[in-house]
Amino acid sequence: MQVNESNIVANEEFRPKIVAFCCNWCSYAGADLAGNNRLAYPADIKIIRVPCSCRVNPMFILRAFQRGADGVILCGCHPGDCHYTSGNYYTRRRMAMLFSMLNYLGIEKERTRVEWVSAAEGAKFAATMQDFAEKVKALGPNKRLEDLRCKQ
């Protein structure tokens, strides 16, 4: 069954669904800068704006996978540069723990990522997204953390 399914997917080009959580002050602005500079990255990336990376609850990430996301990336200010002083330090611990746990459960570690992108790093934002999308695409669809009911 599993094998057949992946064969079908291989026939038409697989386009991953990727959710990018970006903090309002650095990474979202970095994404805007990538736009200002017309730095292309795959349209598979969809950005959700949060005030700070520390607003991202592990439940949101699991929810994204449940609903069919193939990768989730979380971007925030560089450590030390958090608009709220310490938010990204908490993020760093939380996400390190969560992603480590997901990997412990056998979820491919390339499906999750934390990246620090400042408001000045438009090029880094685009390059990061490009790279992440490629890695996720290479992994193929997320099967290990999906809710079949959510697939049409």
């Binding site: 002050w25 017309r38 969809k46 950005i47 959700i48 607003r55 949101f60 908490y90």
Partner: protein, 664 residues
């Protein structure tokens, strides 16, 4: 159910070129709750905004989705539009289909497909939006200026002139900063002390200004309008209110070998000293590292000679706590240490000096009483070589130099060269430069005068090596235009060292939650449009702590920062950000996880009585958020295991609705 209106902007061709805006508007119509959807050339224009207002009225819209540029650009605009249309401004969501869609995706099908998904996510979110009203907080009408150099003094004077009390915290025993150490100032050559010291006196005498010298900021709490600051005033072992500044003690103290920091350690002062004659406050200070009385209890001469009885060996550090509405960082700069540049032999020869040392050597109040004498033998130097860009524009010298241009060196070196030639025409002066940068009023004319009228030898090239030999400094350098290597026997070499932010700035920035760049200069809220504000509300920037600056620029920035502070302090209340955390008391466990992560201390706990389903009452400890203090980061919402804590404007269910819409 909300009645949602969707407005898709073309942004001329910025969006419309890669996104089929009409298709987006049509697709939005199919979403539940959307009762109106349209596209328009410029949504942010007056006509576009009127269109929104009309649609709100006609279709009785309760929520708006604008598919346009980044919310960082026009969220505020459309919130105002919503308010004008009579609905709560927080019922607006922006789908960013320009910066994050049309500008980064090249073909129409891809762009359109993504734009539709982004629109759907915004629609899903706005369904769950609730009207929000910003809270108000009072403004403490007092400002704090950190740093008492020319930047801090000017800012404080301007704020005080507008009628607001202001405190200057200065880490040295006197205000004045770097400018007090300078001799003359370019391009007019008026003496620094003549124009600075009157301002220092003004600051001291202004009844709205309190100078807290020999002090540092230790703790900053609160937020714009309501900062609470703890200042540690170091013990100077002299009662500031009693000391008359007569200076008798500084002549009688037997400990004579204390390096004089004000003269960059080129001479000594006593263990009790007044940094310089025009110091403000003009009060003596005892250096505890050198004072015999403080070290081993044997001496007490200063106390004996002091007729005012101001000496107090038992004085301790004093903590001053004060509330402020605004804080200005004016921490200034320092020249970098040039010791690591071995080729210039700074640590090998006393006659290789930095430009700031040169200032002291030519200053009438300096160690040589203004006579330009070689530090090694006190002789008059006949050949002087100035080296520009020592450590500036230095991309590869990791840990040694700075990648940026220090901006002020070209001009002060021209000044030094000119002054030497003016006072001592028998001296040959060489200036090695990479580029001479003179953008400023009368700056290039000034530099040309140095060359044309004063005969300073400007050589395009760089000094490669300085070797001390037989009391001379052998300077090996390139002359690029003549295409030859020069060997000059110099008596004095002056290095124009790069400047860097003061070391105290980094810890201060952390306390202020103000951001910094990689060079430790404070970041401005906008590099062009908000150059004197930090991104953190209520924190302002004055002078070289924001970037290298000369005096005229520093003073203009200082006054600009003051204007911003005055604007803030003139308000009685500030409207807060309504997107703050909120605790559901029925679900709160009172576990304190949220309070542990809150960077602002916005969460407190109260014991509250609850009616239980069985009609008994129960007292429970529950979290309560102070909306005036909360900045809305959301750290608490994730720390809370029960999900009792949520963030207005970015509620759990709103973000999950977005996730769902994107992953559908």
């Amino acid at each position: 159910m909300q009645r949602i209106g969707v407005f898709v902007c073309w942004c001329g061709s910025n969006i419309a070129a890669t996104v089929d805006v009409h298709a987006v508007a049509e697709a939005a119509k199919l979403e539940p709750g959307v009762v109106f959807s349209t596209d328009y050339q410029y949504m942010c224009s007056q006509a576009g905004q009127n269109m929104i207002i009309d649609a709100v009225k006609e279709h009785k819209l309760t929520g708006l989705v604008i598919c346009s540029c980044s919310p960082r650009m026009h969220e505020a605009t459309f919130r105002k539009t919503a308010a004008n249309a009579g609905i709560n401004p927080y019922m607006v969501e922006i789908a960013n289909i320009r910066e994050q869609c049309s500008w980064v995706h090249k073909d129409m099908p891809t762009g359109t497909e993504k734009a539709i998904i982004l629109a759907k996510a915004a629609i899903a979110k706005v369904h769950l939006n609730t009207p929000l009203t910003p809270g108000e907080s009072k403004v403490t009408k007092r400002a704090l200026v950190i740093g008492g150099g020319i930047a801090g003094i000017q800012t404080a004077l301007d704020i005080a002139d507008a009628g607001y009390p202001v405190d200057i915290v200065e880490k040295e025993p006197t205000i004045g900063g770097k400018m007090a150490q300078l001799d003359k100032t370019f391009p007019t050559l008026d003496c620094a002390a003549c124009i600075l010291t009157p301002k220092m006196v003004d600051a001291a005498q202004n009844e709205n200004i309190r100078i807290i010298s020999y002090a540092k900021v230790e703790e900053v709490g609160g937020f714009v309008g309501n900062f609470h600051v703890k200042i540690r005033k170091k013990a100077r072992f002299v009662n500031e209110d009693v000391c008359t500044g007569c200076g008798l003690c500084t002549e009688k103290c037997p400990q004579k070998k204390v390096p004089n920091a004000f003269n960059l350690n080129m001479d000594n002062h006593r263990a009790i000293y007044i940094p310089f004659a025009q110091a403000v406050p003009k009060v003596a200070v005892i250096d505890p590292d050198y004072c015999n009385m403080l070290k081993n209890g044997k001496c007490g001469v200063c106390a004996k000679v002091c007729t005012a009885g101001a000496i107090d060996y038992k004085q301790e550090d004093q903590i001053i706590e004060e509330d402020y509405g605004a804080i200005v960082a004016a921490t200034g700069y320092n020249p970098i240490s040039v010791e690591k540049f071995d080729e210039f032999a700074y640590s090998q020869s006393k006659d290789v000096i930095t430009s700031l040392e040169f200032e002291r050597l030519t200053n009438a109040a300096g160690p040589t009483a203004g006579k330009l004498l070689r530090p090694s033998d006190g002789e008059h130097p006949h050949t002087i070589v100035f080296v520009q860009c020592v450590g500036s524009r230095c991309a590869s010298c990791a840990g040694k130099g700075k990648e940026y241009c220090s901006k002020i060196c070209c001009m002060y070196t021209a000044k030094h060269a000119m002054l030497v030639r003016d006072k001592y025409p028998d001296t040959e002066v060489y200036v090695f430069y990479i580029d001479v940068r003179t953008p400023g009023k009368n700056f290039d004319e000034f530099y040309r005068r140095a060359v044309e009228e004063y005969g300073v030898h400007y050589i395009k090239g760089m000094v490669g090596k300085v070797t001390p030999e037989n009391g001379k400094l052998k300077v090996q350098a390139s002359d690029l235009l003549a295409d030859r290597q020069l060997h000059i026997d110099a008596d004095l070499v002056v290095l124009a060292a790069a400047i860097e932010p003061d070391k105290s700035a980094r810890p201060l920035a952390t306390m202020l939650t103000a951001s910094m760049d990689t060079n430790d200069f404070f970041t401005e809220a906008h590099p062009k449009l908000r150059p004197v504000e930090s991104p953190t509300a209520g924190i302002f920037l004055s002078g070289a702590c924001q970037g290298p600056k000369d005096i005229p620029e520093t003073v203009s920035q200082a006054s600009a920062a003051a204007a911003k502070v005055i604007g803030l302090l003139s308000k009685n209340t500030l409207k807060g950000n309504p997107c703050v955390a909120q605790s559901d008391e029925l679900m709160c466990n009172g576990c304190s996880s949220c309070a542990n992560v809150c960077p602002y201390g916005a969460i407190t706990y109260v014991n509250k009585e609850f009616r239980m389903p069985d009609r008994t009452t129960k007292v429970r400890r529950v979290a309560s958020v102070n909306p005036a203090v909360c900045q809305g980061c959301g750290a608490c919402t994730v720390a809370c295991p029960s999900g009792a804590m949520d963030l207005n404007g970015f509620k759990n269910n709103q973000i999950m609705a977005e996730v769902d819409a994107i992953c559908k």
